[in-house]
C-alpha cells in the first residue's frame, strides 16, 4: 500500500489554521473543522489532519501513542515492542466512522504508555530522560516496523490525519467529538509526492505538532543534520524535519522559543550587519545552527502542551494572519478562516516575516504544562545532553 522507496520531499501549497484558549478552556472540534473547511480551495483532497491538546483528561501522565498501521500484523509487532519497552496502561482502537470517499484506510490505535527503563536507570523519572526515551521508541517503530508509524506521541494530545478533504478526515476521526484547548488543522495540496496517510499533516514528535504551508527547500541539509542527533525522517515529507528541529533546539538544547525561531528563520546578513546589541547573538545562531535553518517558503503553526506558535519564512512567501478575541488567539492562512469562527475579533494582524507569534497558556493551567519562553538553565542541559541522550547513532535499516 505505501511506497517507501520514494525518499524525496514534496512541494505543497496548503491551508493551515490554529486556535488556542489562553486559560485552557476546551474548544469543540467543530470550531477547527469550520475554520479549515473555509479554506477548502487550498487543498486538493490528498491530505488533511488535526492536532488536539487536552483531549485525554485523566490520562495526562501517559504518553499517548497514536499508531497508524497498514495491517494487523504491523500492529502486533508494535504491541510486542511496547510490551518490552513500556508500561502499557491502556490501549484502544481510535474511533472512526465509515466515510464513503475514504477507501481502504489504515488501522488506527492508541496506546497510553510510560517508559520502562532498564537496569539502574529504572528509578529515574525525570522528564527529559522520559521524553528522550519516547523519542527513541518512536524512531524505532517508524524505522524498524514495516507498515507502522507513530503519528503522535505526546501527553494529553493527539493527531488525526489522513488522505481526504478536511471535512472527510474530520468525519472519519469523529473530530467534532473531541474538545481541546489548542487545535491546529491542515488542508493539503501536495504536488511532488503522492498524498499518503503518513504524509498528511500535522507532523509530530512528543507533544510537538506542526502544520505547514510551503516547501522546505533545505530538507536535505536539515535531514542530515537531524540524523546526527538520532532523528530519522521516515514520512517522505519535508515538514517532518521541522518537528524534529524544534524538539532538538528547544527541548534538548534548551534554547528559548524565540531564539529557536531565529535559528529557523534568521534575519539576512545585511540586517545583522546593521544590528548593535544583537549582532553577536544572531551571528552565533546563524553559525551554530546553520544546518537547522529552514530555506524556502513556509508558514507554519506549531503547538505543544502549553502554547501555539505561528512562524513565516523571512520573506513571507506564504500567507499568515493572526487575530485575537478575549482569551482566544487564532492563526490561519486566510483571514476568512478566522472570521468563519470569530466574526468580530478584537484585533487582526499580519505577522511580520520571520517573527514568531507566540501564545502560551497562562501559568499552571494544565498538568505537565510546558513553557519555552525562557531557555533551560545551563547546568541541567549539559549533563542531560552528555549522559542520557546516548542514541544508537544509526539504526539498522528495516
Amino acid at each position: 500500500m505505501w511506497n517507501r522507496t520514494l525518499i524525496s520531499k514534496e512541494i505543497s501549497g496548503c491551508g493551515i489554521s490554529g486556535i488556542i484558549h489562553k486559560k485552557g478552556k476546551l474548544i469543540s472540534g467543530e470550531v477547527i473543522i469550520k475554520s479549515i473547511c473555509c479554506q477548502e480551495e487550498r487543498g486538493n483532497g490528498l491530505g488533511a489532519g488535526f492536532a488536539a491538546y487536552g483531549i485525554y483528561p485523566g490520562m495526562e501522565n501517559f504518553y499517548t501513542l497514536h499508531v497508524m498501521a497498514e495491517n494487523s500484523y504491523a500492529l502486533e509487532l508494535v504491541e510486542e515492542l511496547l510490551a518490552h519497552q513500556t508500561f502499557l496502561n491502556y490501549q484502544e482502537p481510535i474511533p472512526t466512522r465509515k466515510v464513503k470517499t475514504i477507501k481502504n484506510p489504515p488501522l488506527f490505535k492508541r496506546y497510553f504508555v510510560r517508559p520502562k527503563f532498564e537496569g539502574e536507570l529504572t528509578e529515574i523519572c525525570d522528564e527529559l530522560a522520559e521524553d528522550n526515551y519516547i523519542v527513541k521508541l518512536v524512531m524505532e517503530i517508524n524505522t524498524k516496523i514495516e507498515g507502522a508509524y507513530v503519528i503522535s506521541s505526546g501527553k494529553n494530545m493527539g493527531v488525526f490525519k489522513g488522505v481526504g478533504f478536511p471535512d472527510e478526515i474530520a468525519e472519519f476521526f469523529r473530530i467534532e467529538e473531541y474538545k481541546a484547548f489548542i487545535w491546529t488543522g491542515h488542508n493539503r495540496f501536495p504536488t511532488n509526492t503522492p498524498g499518503w496517510w503518513g504524509g498528511a499533516h500535522p507532523f509530530t514528535i512528543l507533544d510537538w505538532s506542526i502544520v505547514h504551508n510551503g516547501e522546505i527547500s533545505s530538507y536535505g541539509t536539515n535531514k542530515r543534520y537531524l540524523e546526527l542527533f538520532g532523528y530519522k525522517c521516515t514520512l517522505l515529507t519535508d515538514t517532518e524535519v521541522v518537528a524534529y528541529i524544534l524538539d532538538l533546539l528547544i527541548r534538548r538544547h534548551g534554547l528559548p522559543l524565540k531564539v529557536a525561531c531565529l535559528a529557523l528563520a534568521p534575519p539576512f546578513w545585511m540586517e545583522i550587519d546593521e544590528m548593535s546589541e544583537e549582532r553577536e547573538l544572531l551571528t552565533a545562531i546563524r553559525i551554530i545552527y546553520g544546518s537547522a535553518m529552514l530555506n524556502g517558503p513556509f508558514a507554519i503553526l506549531f503547538a505543544y502542551n502549553g502554547g501555539l506558535v505561528g512562524l513565516n519564512d523571512r520573506v513571507k512567501l506564504r500567507p499568515l494572519v493572526a487575530a485575537e478575541k478575549g482569551d482566544l488567539v487564532y492563526m490561519a492562512s486566510e483571514e476568512a478562516a478566522i472570521r468563519a469562527i470569530c466574526p468580530d475579533p478584537d484585533k487582526v494582524w499580519a505577522p511580520k516575516a520571520g517573527e514568531p507569534v507566540i501564545v502560551e497558556l497562562e501559568p499552571n493551567t494544565i498538568p505537565n504544562q510546558r513553557s519555552y519562553l525562557k531557555g533551560r538553565p545551563r547546568e541541567e542541559d549539559e549533563n542531560e545532553l552528555r549522559v542520557k541522550c546516548a542514541y544508537t547513532p544509526l539504526f539498522a535499516s528495516k
Binding site: 473555509c38 476568512a336 478562516a337 472570521r339
Partner: protein, 247 residues
C-alpha cells in the same frame, strides 16, 4: 438596477455566476453582504459597475477586471487587483500580500496597512497608469520589478507603530514608475539602482490630484496628509539592469 445579496452560504463560484448574469441583464449597483473568503469576486469583468462588499473578500479580488468600482468595507486578502486593467478598488481596512500584482491600469486605494510584495511588476503605457495608494505601512518588496505606474505610501493609518514605513528590498529590480513615500526610508532598504529625490512641482501636482480623490474616498483631510514631506523613489539611470546579462 440594483442587486443586494447575502452570500454567506454561497460558494464563490455561485456568487460570481450570479454577478455575471446580473451584469449581463444590465444591473449596475451591487451590494454583497456576508462575504468571507469568496475568491475571484468581479474577476475579469469589463463593465462599469459598482460593487460594495461587506466582509472579507477572498483571494484575487477583481483580478483582470477592466472597469468595475469595488468598495470593500473590511479587509482584503491576498492578490486584490491582480493584473487589473481598469477600474478601482477601495479597501476600508488593511490589505493582504501581493496587492496590484502586474497591474496595468486603474486604481487601488487602501486605507490601512498593506502586506508584502504590493505593486510588484506594475507597468504603464501611454495613458494607462496604474495607481496604488496605501494609507498605512507596507511590507517588504514594495514595487519590486516595477516597470511603470505610481505607488503612494502614507504610513499614517497603521496598526503597526513599531514598524518602519516600508520593509526591506523596496523597489528591487525597479526600472520604471515612481514610489512616493510620506516620510523617509533607510537607503539600505532600497533596491539597487534606486535613489530618493525631493519632489518637483509636477510631482506635487500629481500627488495632490491622486490624494484628493483618496481623501474623498475615506473622508480624510488632504492638508493633514501634506503636513509631512514626501520623497520620490525612482531608478537613477534609464536602464539600471541593462548590463546585467551583457558582459
Amino acid at each position: 438596477m440594483n442587486l443586494e445579496l447575502n452570500v454567506h452560504t454561497l460558494h464563490y463560484s455561485q456568487v460570481n455566476r450570479i454577478l455575471r448574469k446580473a451584469i449581463e441583464e444590465g444591473k449596475v449597483n451591487f451590494k454583497l453582504y456576508g462575504v468571507n473568503g469568496h475568491r475571484y469576486l468581479a474577476a475579469g469583468i469589463s463593465k462599469k459597475v459598482k460593487i460594495e462588499i461587506y466582509g472579507t473578500p477572498g483571494l484575487d479580488l477583481g483580478a483582470f477586471m477592466k472597469g468595475p468600482e469595488i468598495i470593500v468595507y473590511g479587509n482584503s486578502q491576498d492578490g486584490a487587483g491582480n493584473t487589473m486593467d481598469d477600474g478601482k478598488i477601495v479597501i476600508h481596512g488593511m490589505g493582504g500580500d501581493v496587492i496590484g500584482y502586474g497591474m496595468r491600469g486603474g486604481k487601488i486605494h487602501l486605507y490601512s496597512d498593506a502586506g508584502y510584495r504590493v505593486g510588484i511588476h506594475m507597468k504603464a503605457y501611454m495613458d494607462k497608469v496604474p495607481v496604488i495608494i496605501i494609507g498605512g505601512k507596507a511590507g517588504d518588496f514594495l514595487g519590486e520589478y516595477m516597470a511603470g505606474g505610481i505607488i503612494i505610501l502614507l504610513g499614517m493609518f497603521s496598526r503597526y507603530p513599531e514598524k518602519p514605513i516600508a520593509g526591506l528590498f523596496l523597489g528591487t529590480g525597479m526600472h520604471g514608475g515612481a514610489i512616493y513615500i510620506r516620510g523617509k526610508v533607510k537607503e539600505s532598504f532600497l533596491g539597487a539602482g534606486l535613489k530618493p529625490y525631493p519632489l518637483t512641482s509636477e510631482d506635487e501636482k500629481l500627488l495632490e490630484t491622486h490624494l484628493k480623490e483618496y481623501c474623498e474616498d475615506f473622508n480624510l483631510n488632504l492638508s493633514e496628509i501634506f503636513k509631512a514631506d514626501f520623497i520620490k523613489i525612482i531608478p537613477y539611470t534609464h536602464r539600471p539592469y541593462g548590463k546585467l546579462y551583457a558582459y
